[in-house]
Amino acid sequence: MSRTRTERLVNLVICLLSTRRFLTAAQIAATVPGYEHDPEDPRDHEAFQRKFERDKAELRELGVPLETGTASVFDQEPGYRIAHREYALPDIILEPDEAAAVGIAARLWQHAGLAAAASSGLAKLRAAGVEVDPQATLGVEPVVTVDPAFGPLTSAARDRRAVTFSYRVPEVDEPATRRLEPWGVVCWRGRWYVVGHDRDRNATRCFRLSRIVGSARPVGRPGAFVPPAKVDLISHVAGFDGPVQRTGRATVVARHGRAAGLRRWAVSTQPDPDGDKLTLPYGDAERLGATLAGYGPDVYVEGPPEVRDAVIQHLKEVMARHEGVVAA
């Protein structure tokens, strides 16, 4: 932007902040430097109008709350002003440790767009007098990454606007088009999900953001739905996998110095002629069997039979599917 344009826009903001009356475009043109033109000359006037429209758009893009109205009931032409209380960031007083936390939070984003938003937000807090120690750390810092659909989905959830997206589940060859009333976005165990009402299934559904192909598109009007009151977004996602109960006990002999991964979660370890006898807690015999099979002859399962059988079955399958394979 040219210097004159920036100058004109700063003056426009100051002018509109200082007025209580709505100022018409003509009044603004007569006041703010840079809008001088001959209103009687149609081409000149049209050029002014285009310039003024662009400037208004720019202010709105920046988040300046431009009010439109008329100075009195007799006025036909709309006027403009900026209410200071709408414009200004409310007073915010942060203690040094709180300010440090905000400074750290603003650095977490790895996503370029949100990183820029966080740092311009922080710049406003600084302008409000908040001092941020750039050296502060908190001991543990999360690295925050998001999928491309994050922005469109959070906007749609806030605006209560339906979205449509193409969703790819690995087991299914072709992505499917889904239509969702998004209630909110959840980060659970490092992955992002969107929770909402699936219009096609007519039920509550969660979708993984990483499986959305491309991005999500808003459809229809804002305010198109009302999310259930006090919805607990986390519970919808976390409901997928409850805690595993490991009440079973398997007895496994691990060769000397081998199977370190199993030894770590053994509840007891006894010396054995062939190695060490481990007692392993387990919930699902099939799952444990698969893990034990991975260790090959480094482990030998004594019991119980369900685990022993699972391992033998698993190993037989490994043999069967690799029979006759010619290495590529």
Partner: protein, 320 residues
Amino acid sequence: MTAPKTSVDRLGRLLNLVPYLLARPGILISEAAADLDVSERQLREDLELLWVCGLPGYGPGDLIDMALDGDRVTISHDAGIDRPLRLTQDEALALVVALRMLAETPGTGSRDVIERALAKIENAAGDLADAPVAVKLPANAEKLDQIRAAVEGGHALRMTYYTAARDETTERVVDPMRVLMVGGRAYLEAWCRRAEATRMFRVDRIDAFTELDEPSAPPPEAAPQDVSDGVFKPTADLPLMTLRIGRHSRWITEYYPVEEVRPSSSGEWIVTMRITDLGWAQRLLMGLGPDVTVIGPPELLERIREQATAALDQYSSPAR
């Protein structure tokens, strides 16, 4: 953020600059420039521009006025832009969600401070703070807390660490650098004196540790890793393995970094992945479902056949 490039950015910066300086009378221009992440020259240009802006009338008492005393600046007339502009929707979202992440991160040790900061930001953001985003980062908070406290203690650590790639538990001395959460997992980044390199240690695999008396002293070449694309980034020098996987094991491609996925006509996928260790690949593959077949490299295929045969023999031999 680097120096703003677009026109909107410059206007935003100028509107912010007046209240920023107003709150800090007599600030050094160099200090303000560093704080605002612009060059000193750029800041001086911004000040010159503001100097000719002001209230209608544009006379001496109307224009923005400032005292430039050598290297210091004081705003003496703000022309009405005495406050920064409100947070935009994106700014509020970025700050609020990041603070929620921070508050949910186990082991930060200052959750109440973060919660207070969050409440104040939400208050300042008004309606915009109502971000439809929830965060939950479960982890072993107690262990993470201990590790963090040890790292803050500034000492080297002796630790017992399980390396899944080689299925071994080893003792090593490390010089801690930082603790971080990536993708829901906690890591200790440290200089490993055994490997003589910077390493990411998964906190859940640190089985025991003691703080040593000597200070943590990572050498100058110990640089933090960029983890924005994840912690494990396979390099091109690692060997490739090729798998044929059925529909129900396609989840592997979401869970592990893969090099290539080629659908075949039968609905099976041919997947190539980089591996750091043959033993790791063996444990992984022999533990996977019946629709995963190794088709390369030959030594991995051979190893799996050999290991499965030897393991099965144990159960058929009457000796045991």
